[in-house]
Amino acid sequence: MMVRLQNLSKSFGGRPAVRDVSVNISQGEIFGLLGHNGAGKSTTFGMMLGMLTPDHGETFIGGYSVQRERRQALGRTGAIFETPAFYDYLSGWDNLRFFVSLSGQNISRARLEEAVALVGLTERIHDRVKAYSHGMRQRLGLAQALVPSPEFLLLDEPNDGLDPLGILEMRTLIRRLRDERKMTVMLSSHLLSEVELLCDRVAILHEGRMVFEGVWRKSSTLWKFALDPVERGEALLREVGLLAQGECWLAPDNFDPSPLIERLVREGIAVREVTPVVQTLEDFYREAIHQ
């Protein structure tokens, strides 16, 4: 297990921010942490990076406890936490060199240049950060996280401030890091469509509690039927085990509607429409936090 969050809890001034959160992330997995503002994502990340001390629980990265073996645990971690902040009066290169020096490794110029090229900042790296756009700061943040060759990458809102092309590049880069370097990635994002495209598993935090953790797949377990006569048609749907959910009907996974349509026709019921309602991560997220 690359990352293990074990019963993490944290309160601020008596108000619980994170309550008993446990997550396991395997090596090479891309894991998404979702939640509204104030749901506890940043507090969880803060505890994972040793910036906040948990009231209860512990975080392990690569088998090392962040709370007790900080250097070993964070030595395997690259992170962008919140909006990356830099020294505006220094160049991107000087900023990069400074943050990398804190990793304790003697990193060659070639490796720094490689990271700069990977995030597409080569031409502007010697400019002062003051002149950087938000997206460029985000890229510089990613470069400083990648230079020490971490095994685990923690990205808090990596798409924040990026244009559509930048978002696409970021997605491609994260996939490359996972596929080529077997890097484990944990990310949070308000762009649920990005999480949907990138993540193997997600966890949803709501008011500090984890309301879902697991594999999420785009599914079509909801179906819409237009039948005539309605009453007889709906009675038959109930009879075969479908559950009414608003205007839709909840069906089991891998539901095949063909036999049902044949039966409806046989019973003299006109079938005007049978449409799967695709549930997006956004729908799923909304449901999860309202449960």
Partner: protein, 281 residues
């Protein structure tokens, strides 16, 4: 280069590449020029000459660059030094917390203790650089203005009246500067301590200055004359005794041991607070 020195180079680069760092250097140069301009006033020159003649010394010999350099240093260092050292030291941690750059540092596999040591050493180097800058520029402007000659010092509060030929005077001058640096390091230590607490950079600077100014006012209040040596700024003024004809090493050692112990205590308290503190966005 070892990891520590690479990291220290980065910290120094952060400090010395920042325009604000040089306000102190610029202010001292400005103050030196103003003092020299005031010294051109006949009334001031007469007062200086009267003091020397009254003690039986020739103003031509002792109204020199060396005397002016020391006079400038004495009159500017405590107030302006306090201001600019408190500004830099008060910023050193709290500004990074405010700007969010400390979060970036804390994401790294570096202990909080190491971060604090790097920052404190940076403060100490800045203190040393500023002190030597003041001492050397004061001496240089003094020499340009008044040329060569002996050293004359009258410090009534410390009860020192000293007169030296140029050579021994320069030796005493450069002997006193490291002690002055140590005195000023106390200001940096206080600023550093408050910078590590949960407060804004400006608040850390203001609290540091307030402590020093209150201490200075109390020290100069006649009622407290009997306990004058208890005050922080009195101990910080000990560097001047390096100009006494027989240097009272026991007083120097006692007071600087006291100041160093205070620096160590402040650093330890800062570390205790910083290492257990939560850093929220």
């Amino acid at each position: 280069m070892s990891t520590f020195f690479r990291q220290l180079r980065g910290e120094l680069q952060k400090l010395f590449f920042r325009n604000r760092t040089y306000i102190g250097f610029g202010a001292f140069l400005g103050a030196e020029i103003i003092i020299l301009a005031l010294l051109r006033l006949p009334r001031v020159q007469r007062g200086f000459a009267k003091l020397l003649t009254g003690a039986g010394y020739s103003p031509e010999e002792y109204l020199s660059g060396l005397t002016l350099g020391l006079t400038i240093t004495l009159s500017t260092v405590l107030l302006l030094g306090a201001l600019f050292l408190a500004l830099v030291a008060g910023d050193i941690v709290s500004k990074e917390v405010e700007d969010g750059t400390l979060r970036m540092m804390l994401c790294r596999p570096v202990t909080r203790g190491r971060i604090l040591v790097l920052k404190y050493v940076t403060c100490a180097i800045y203190t040393l650089a500023l002190t030597f800058f003041i001492a050397l520029t004061a001496l240089a402007t003094g020499y340009v203005y008044a040329g060569r000659g002996g050293l004359f010092l009258y410090a009534p509060l410390e009860e020192i009246f000293a007169v030296y030929a140029e050579g021994p005077g320069l030796v005493r001058y450069f002997l006193a500067i490291p002690f002055l640096s140590l005195s000023l390091l106390t200001i940096s230590s206080i600023g550093f301590f408050f910078s590590c607490l949960r407060m804004k950079p400006a608040a850390a600077t203001i609290v540091t200055l307030s402590i020093l100014f209150v201490d200075m006012v109390l020290k100069n209040t006649p009622f407290f004359g009997a306990i004058r040596e208890w005050f922080l700024t009195a101990r910080m003024s000990t560097w001047v005794v390096a100009f006494e004809s027989r240097i009272p090493w026991e007083i120097l050692l006692e007071n600087y041991a006291w100041l160093i112990a205070l620096d160590v205590t402040l650093f330890t308290l800062a570390w205790a607070v910083f290492s257990t503190r939560d850093f929220k966005a």
